[in-house]
């Protein structure tokens, strides 16, 4: 059933749980920041949007393939990068934000892939990240399946596409 969903470009139910487990583990263990994948998209009237996001894209290819694009709110990225590097949040540079969130996406998807591809047949790509202005969930919903994680810094968005 999940493979059928995947072929249609929709993440399967078990993959959804595994993706959530990976994100919870990465953010909890490395960044001491709780996140949780929401079972459904929040209603549109609750979509608070920040001025800047760190967009991080990563793919895997092989017997299974997907492209995942995360949109981390800048406030979340600043808190995570500051704590991770042990520096004041005011001192965190854009490059450090980009580097930290690239690593976060790499760990989330790497761990996710370890669960859905235990034989290690898929190849994980190199993540790419940039700071973007004017992000809106409505603007990316056509790019794939839109998912939302809740955090102390508002919603962290992700687009899943095959």
């Amino acid at each position: 059933m999940d493979r059928i969903k995947e072929e249609k470009g929709v993440i399967g139910d078990s993959e959804r749980k595994q993706l959530n487990a990976s994100a919870v583990e990465v953010f909890g263990t490395m960044y001491y920041t709780p996140v949780e994948l929401l079972p459904d998209l929040p209603t549109q009237d609750s979509w608070q949007v920040e001025g800047q996001y760190v967009k991080t894209a990563i793919s895997y290819d092989g017997p299974r393939r997907a492209h995942l694009c995360f949109y981390f709110p800048r406030s979340l990225a600043v808190s995570v990068a500051g704590g991770f590097l042990g520096i004041d949040e005011e001192a965190v540079s854009d490059q450090q934000l980009i580097d930290t969130m690239r690593e976060a996406a790499n760990m989330i998807v790497g761990n996710f892939l370890g669960q859905i591809d235990p034989a290690g047949e898929c190849i994980l790509g190199i993540p790419a990240a940039e700071v973007v202005h004017g992000f809106s969930p409505e603007g990316v919903v056509q790019d794939g399946e839109l998912l939302a994680f809740i955090s102390d810094f508002g919603f962290l968005w992700m687009v899943y596409n095959v």
């Binding site: 930290t100 690593e103 790497g110 761990n111 190199i126």
Partner: protein, 148 residues
């Protein structure tokens, strides 16, 4: 005794975190060097002796697995312990790097304590091998205990 340590990761922030973790582990660090991929790491190894290498797998230019193959091909470098610290968590990939001669494998995300334990274990084994050849000395784990 101080150890020269090389960290190989394309993420500057991850290198900084590993460096901080190693520094806090109690291991006496002589020279601490960093590289952004396997090619850069081989250049470091050409001009400086390293007692241990901690490397990622998934990096541009040259990844960790190819780097390990190059190290093992080189008779001068082949005995340097290489520890993998990577997001790639499939058993197949772990078996592959251990089969190629990796000293240990740590999955990201990691607790700092895990890096400390693995590093001390690997350095202790490498040190014991070296001291057996030269005679006498205290292992890194014993040195760390003696510091308390």
């Amino acid at each position: 005794m101080a150890f020269n340590i090389l960290v190989v990761d394309d993420s500057e922030t991850m290198r900084a975190v590993i460096r901080k973790t190693v520094t806090m582990s109690g291991v006496q660090v002589g020279e601490f060097r960093e590289a952004g991929n396997g090619k850069e790491a081989l250049l470091v190894l050409e001009d400086t002796w390293m007692d241990v290498v901690l490397t990622d797998i998934n990096m541009p230019e040259m990844g960790g697995v190819e780097f390990l193959r190059e190290v093992k091909k080189n008779p001068i470098l082949r005995n340097i312990p290489v520890i993998f610290i990577s997001t790639e968590s499939s058993q197949t990939r772990r078996d592959e790097v251990v089969g190629l001669g990796a000293a240990a494998y740590v999955k990201k995300p990691f607790m700092p304590e895990k890096i400390k334990t693995v590093l001390l274990d690997v350095l202790t084994k490498a040190y014991a091998t070296r001291m057996a050849a030269e005679g006498g000395g205290m292992t890194p784990a014993a040195e760390e205990e003696a510091d308390f």
